[in-house]
């Protein structure tokens, strides 16, 4: 199936499509473990899609299919028009197009100097020195590491947060069309985490990079994602906007997940018989809704 170019704002062919995907680890051995048993999902170009699910639900196995680290055993995965079961699949091309940033990417660093680590990918793809330098500089700026300040620093003398930025810059330097983040903010302080989430959104808004994130942080998922897939026991069980997903709080909790704290507050108020909207995700929305429903001025006079 040829990939039809996206034109005039029309979203035609999804950049990523997963159909009835199954995966079993070590089949036919005593350690056989079923990981995926029927996942379906579609991601459109320029979307930010979050995958949530309890630990062990198969999220990491699923995303390892996206750049061909795992081949589909049953079902299919199509990425940017390439069927990943295809024997002629150009895996190098696929890996340039789909950047993967795993949990604790700082563990993937190996070069002595920061600049070399980030340059490793682009150099391997045969780009000339000037282009490599340009890409390294740009990638470092995107993650907030000053080029001159950091390029000659020793990789292993950096703090954990800085190392993570280096690792991410290394992937960005490949200029992928799809970026997959496994737990993008774990281990980051709140300010760095929200700065980082803003950067992810910026990559989508400015560079039209399609973003897929796997996260256990319901509050950041609620803020960032356009759509959410819930994966439970290797199956895709729910799909929808953050509002749709998090308003099904009982089900979400049954799955071992959670809803943002403000959603919990609003639902608590509803249980107390207050007529507030419960499908709110951010502090500001909740504040406005509370102002609408409660007479705050009267209370101020009391004081």
């Amino acid at each position: 199936m040829p990939l039809t170019a996206v034109g005039g704002g029309e979203l035609m062919t999804p950049v990523l499509r997963v159909e009835d995907l199954h995966h079993t680890y070590l089949p036919g051995t005593p350690f056989e473990a079923v990981s995926l048993q029927g996942v379906n999902m579609e991601v459109q170009e320029g979307e930010i899609v979050a995958i949530i699910g309890p630990t062990g639900s198969g999220k990491s196995t699923l995303i390892q299919h996206f750049n061909g680290l795992i081949s589909p055993q049953r079902g299919s995965v199509t990425v940017l028009g390439q069927d990943l079961r295809d024997h002629d699949l150009d895996i190098k091309r696929l890996r340039r197009q789909v950047g993967m940033i795993f949990q604790t990417p700082e563990q993937q660093l190996f070069e002595q100097y920061v600049g070399d680590d980030i340059a490793f990918g682009p150099r391997n793809f045969g780009l000339d020195a000037a282009e490599v330098r340009q890409r390294v500089k740009r990638a470092m700026e995107m993650v907030g590491l000053g080029f001159e300040d950091f390029k000659d620093r020793l990789t292993f003398s950096l703090s954990g947060g800085e190392m993570r930025k280096v690792a991410i810059a290394g992937v960005l330097a490949l200029e992928p069309r799809i970026l997959v983040f496994d737990e993008p903010t774990s281990g980051l302080d709140p300010a760095t985490a929200s700065e980082f989430l803003a950067k992810i959104r910026e990559l989508r808004d400015l560079e039209k990079v399609t973003i897929i994130i796997v996260s256990h942080n319901m509050e950041s998922v609620a803020q960032l994602a356009d759509r959410i897939y819930v994966i439970v026991q290797g199956q895709s069980v729910l799909e929808g906007t953050p509002q749709q997903i998090f308003s099904q709080s009982d089900q979400i909790r049954d799955y071992g997940l959670d809803t943002p704290q403000v959603t919990q507050v609003m639902q608590g108020l509803r249980s107390c018989g207050r007529p507030v909207r419960a499908d709110l995700l951010s502090v500001r929305e909740a504040e406005e809704e509370i102002c609408r429903c409660f007479d705050l001025t009267e209370r101020q006079v009391d004081h």
């Binding site: 604790t104 620093r153 281990g187 302080d189 709140p190 959670d258 403000v262 207050r274 429903c293």
Partner: protein, 282 residues
């Protein structure tokens, strides 16, 4: 329990850019406290935590655990038995090829009789709800499950103090809740808990919050006091839990509304006391 006196620590891996991670820390942690350490990346939290069981020795100053100076090599084993550590990435702490053997590794090295060993391993795996997985190979488990195995390994040593360095960072919400409940349970049994976290909603679980910044202790107090200083926290790269932020915003509009509120339940309760607006109730 733990006394830290004027501790400095400098990493000089990169001679051209030595990093001073701790710049004169003074700290007393009493037995049975539940201390949460927060602070931005690179503020020195993990460096400090590694001094609590002599994984790091101060460049200058002293750390003593139950009166034992961590600089004195003869106390090393006792200190390590007293203070258990759980780190963020479980793979780095798992050494065996079967879950229960991994949990047994520590207590086995303490020379416990087999029966006692068996009992401790089962108890620890029950606490973290991994008993059903005891014969599985750890590398086949999810990150969250592996972390629970590591915690079980630490608990099986029955340490007087447990230090958790972002131990919940990779867990799903239920796994996180389970670990937090486990910590509360151990705390109730008298175990001193020291937890490092970037989740502000976890920081309210402790009895004391220490905020680090640039190798110094910037704030130290009960969570109610720390989380009433929103502006200071934000300047230190931190934030309030969502529910605390919401309460703070309502408080700004209606000063009689109490702040800080640290839990969803408290917040709902206080909001329910507000009069409904005429528009909505009519």
């Amino acid at each position: 329990m733990i006394v830290v006196e004027d501790v400095h620590h400098t990493y000089d891996v990169d001679r051209a850019h030595p990093v001073t991670a701790l710049k004169g820390i003074n700290l007393h942690i009493e037995e049975g406290e539940y201390v949460v350490i927060i602070g931005r990346n690179g503020s020195g939290k993990s460096t400090l935590a590694k001094h609590f069981n002599a994984l790091l020795i101060p460049t200058s100053g002293d750390v003593s655990i139950k009166g034992m100076n961590t600089k004195d090599p003869q106390h090393l084993t006792t200190i390590r038995h007293s203070v258990g550590m759980v780190f963020q990435v479980p793979d780095n702490q798992i050494i065996a090829t079967v879950v229960e053997e991994d949990v047994a590794f520590g207590p086995e090295n303490m020379g416990l009789p087999l029966q006692e060993l068996r009992a401790r391993v089962d108890e620890a795996l029950t606490v973290v709800d991994m008993l059903d997985h005891r014969t599985r190979p750890p590398h086949m488990l999810s990150a969250g499950q592996k972390q629970r195995v590591v915690i079980a390994g630490a608990i099986a040593m029955r340490p007087a103090c447990l230090v958790l360095d972002e131990a919940t960072a990779m867990l799903d919400p239920r796994g996180r809740r389970d670990v937090l409940d486990t910590m509360q349970q151990l705390h109730a049994q008298g175990v001193t808990i020291i937890a490092i976290t970037h989740f502000m909603r976890e920081a309210v679980e402790g009895t004391r919050v220490i905020v680090m910044d640039q190798g110094n202790i910037a704030m130290d107090g009960p969570p109610q006091r720390i989380f009433s200083q929103a502006d200071e926290l934000r300047q230190l790269g931190l934030d309030l839990p969502q529910v605390t932020q919401l309460a703070e915003r309502i408080h700004r509009r209606t000063p009689a509304f109490p702040t800080p509120l640290l839990s969803v339940e408290e917040c709902v309760e206080e909001l329910c006391r507000l009069p409904q607006s005429a528009v909505v109730s009519s």
